[in-house]
């Protein structure tokens, strides 16, 4: 088991299985099909992301460097949260980007009960260490335990 310390962007605690993307998450490409066609598992539809393509994102501790792609990214993330198809949490190795920050803040302010804790700045070592299906726990102070 290893612990990593990050910065809390939107607060919360959760334990969930890890899903790891070593490249940036293209939010629109990843979520659009799932939101459009009622896929409650939020299966990733981004063919350009070999780490995530075809895998369930809903309920997972999504570990990633940053989000990329269309600036609709924030509202797509907001919609995923509203529909209950969001990851259990977002864990960024880098400082969070403006699109992911917008999505998580919009969900936190405008939606009730759509929890998706977000921690950033966990460092490159975090992303090298964590692997799919490892158990990830976020503590309230931004500590992330991976086992």
């Amino acid at each position: 088991m290893r612990e990593f310390k990050g910065r809390v962007v939107t607060p919360g605690t959760v334990t969930a299985p890890a899903l790891v993307s070593h490249g940036g998450l293209n939010t629109l490409a990843s979520f659009q099909k799932a939101l459009q066609f009622g896929d409650k598992k939020a299966t990733c539809g981004d063919q350009n992301n070999p780490d995530l393509y075809g895998k369930q994102m809903a309920g997972k501790a999504l570990c990633l460097p940053q989000t990329i792609g269309s600036t609709t990214g924030g509202l797509v993330l907001y919609c995923a949260c509203s529909m209950g198809r969001q990851p259990a949490c977002l864990l960024f190795s880098n400082p969070i980007d403006s699109l992911a920050a917008a999505g998580s803040i919009l969900a936190s302010v405008w939606l009730e009960g759509a929890e998706m804790p977000v921690v950033d700045s966990l460092g490159e070592e975090f992303l090298s260490y964590v692997k799919d299906d490892m158990t990830v726990t976020i503590k309230a102070d931004g500590t992330v335990c991976v086992e």
């Binding site: 459009q36 792609g69 609709t72 924030g74 509202l75 969070i96 920050a101 999505g103 302010v109 405008w110």
Partner: protein, 424 residues
């Protein structure tokens, strides 16, 4: 800790109602994440929104819009918006039309009604290139914006000298409603300094969309200071250069996440401040012919059959300027004349802003373009292609943005011209 004026603190505390308090809370949280020191007024005349499409999947966005409208939380700014996703003149088969109209974009009319209530400039205010003269939403140097469309943000910052962060959709309208945005990143002098020097050493004028792609992929969200372009572009921001920078910037913003670039001796801040804009610890990226070729060769071909004959070609993402439209019309005519073909050999759509389209249609070139078989539209090619039915379709384009976000295959402008006029 972000400093709020008594007025801003009052809004946050509910002086203008619960919904406005949430709008302010959203912006304050956004600013705190990025270390903003204060909120600053939005000073542009108009706003621009990225969300133009009534995609059924975005139901929660429309609910949020309704909440804002019902609470009277409406911007004092009118706004333009990105292009519509549909146009009956653009080739689509029966199944595509059925899915587009009855399923995917079934909320389009509803959403456009919401946009009218929220302050849409006019019924033709749909273009990603809202800053084109004909569209009437061209910010002035130093103005603070609350925009989100990535290609428009990078153009406004770099070519016009306005100040805007690379915001997300919805955050754009929040800033406009409040009339304030958090002061961080590209709104600050420090945030506008370059952390990369890009030395262009090519033997000919680089393809704008390829150069932008190379720089975007290298610097990601950083600010590049580009040298070596004077011999190709000179030092005047004329129509030709503005169109070049429009396409270049869109590629930097989509292939990377660039929100501002400086071109030595050309863009306004580079002209004023020169190399004082470059940070002391700036990294260097040299681009020559071989590097551009390497980048082009690195693009994956994700067509199911890489040798398939193209079924559709899009030119104009971002939307074409008037001069580009005229130049393309003449080039296609000449290409067809050389090849002996009467019409384009691949169904081709040129996309431009509605106001440019109207002006173009008043010229004699409109009939000449129509005679070549090219369809002129104001659709968003990206939204047209962003669905499962278009995924397997062999579409070609000279837009590096369209290549990045869809399965469209990229070719240079010269290659596209060859393909659509000669069928090679």
């Amino acid at each position: 800790m972000i400093y709020l004026t008594p007025e801003q603190q009052g809004i946050l505390d509910g002086a203008k109602g619960e919904t406005m308090a949430k709008v302010m809370k959203t912006l304050v949280m956004y600013g705190e994440v990025f270390g903003a020191d204060k909120m600053v007024p939005v000073t542009s005349e108009y706003n621009h929104l990225v969300t133009s499409f009534g995609l059924k999947a975005l139901g929660p966005v429309y609910e949020l819009m309704d909440q804002l409208i019902e609470a009277g939380a409406i911007s004092q700014q009118q706004f333009s918006v990105d292009p519509r996703p549909l146009d009956k003149n653009v080739p689509a088969n029966f199944l595509q039309n059925f899915v587009f109209n009855k399923f995917m974009y079934s909320k389009q009319d509803f959403y456009e009604e919401q946009l009218k209530k929220l302050g849409l400039m006019d019924a033709d205010a749909f273009s990603c290139a809202c800053y084109l003269d004909q569209m009437g939403n061209k910010p002035k140097k130093g103005e603070v914006l609350s925009w989100a469309e990535s290609s428009a943000v990078v153009y406004a910052n770099s070519v016009l000298g306005a100040r805007c962060n690379r915001n997300s959709g919805i955050m754009d309208i929040m800033g406009s409603i409040a009339g304030f945005v958090p002061h961080f990143g590209l709104l600050t002098d420090e945030g506008r300094k370059a952390s990369w020097i890009v030395e262009v050493k090519t033997t000919k004028k680089p393809e704008a969309q390829l150069l932008g792609s190379a720089i975007g992929m290298k610097v990601m969200e950083d600010v590049p200071f580009v040298t070596g372009m004077n011999q190709w572009l000179g030092s005047e921001l004329n129509d030709e250069n503005c169109a070049y920078l429009k396409d270049f910037g869109a590629a930097t913003a989509s292939n990377g996440a660039v929100g501002l670039y400086h071109i030595e001796d050309l863009t306004p801040e580079a002209k004023e401040l020169g190399r004082a804009l470059v940070r002391e610890d700036a990294k260097v990226y040299v681009i020559d012919d071989a590097e551009l070729q390497r980048v082009k060769d690195s693009y994956p071909v994700i067509w199911k059959n890489p040798d398939a004959k193209p079924k559709l070609c899009f030119v104009g993402c971002p939307h074409l300027s008037m001069q580009q439209l005229k130049d393309w019309t003449v080039a296609v005519e000449e290409g067809l004349k050389t090849s002996g073909n009467a019409k384009v050999t691949v169904p081709t759509v040129f996309t431009t802003a509605p106001a440019v389209k109207k002006e173009f249609e008043k010229t004699e070139l409109a009939a000449r373009l129509k005679a070549t078989g090219v369809v002129l539209s104001s659709i968003c090619p990206l939204m047209y292609m962003n669905n499962p039915l278009c995924g397997p379709m062999p579409v070609i384009t000279c837009s590096n943005k369209l290549r990045t976000y869809t399965t469209a295959r990229y070719y240079t402008e010269a290659e596209i011209l060859e393909k659509i006029t000669k069928g090679v």
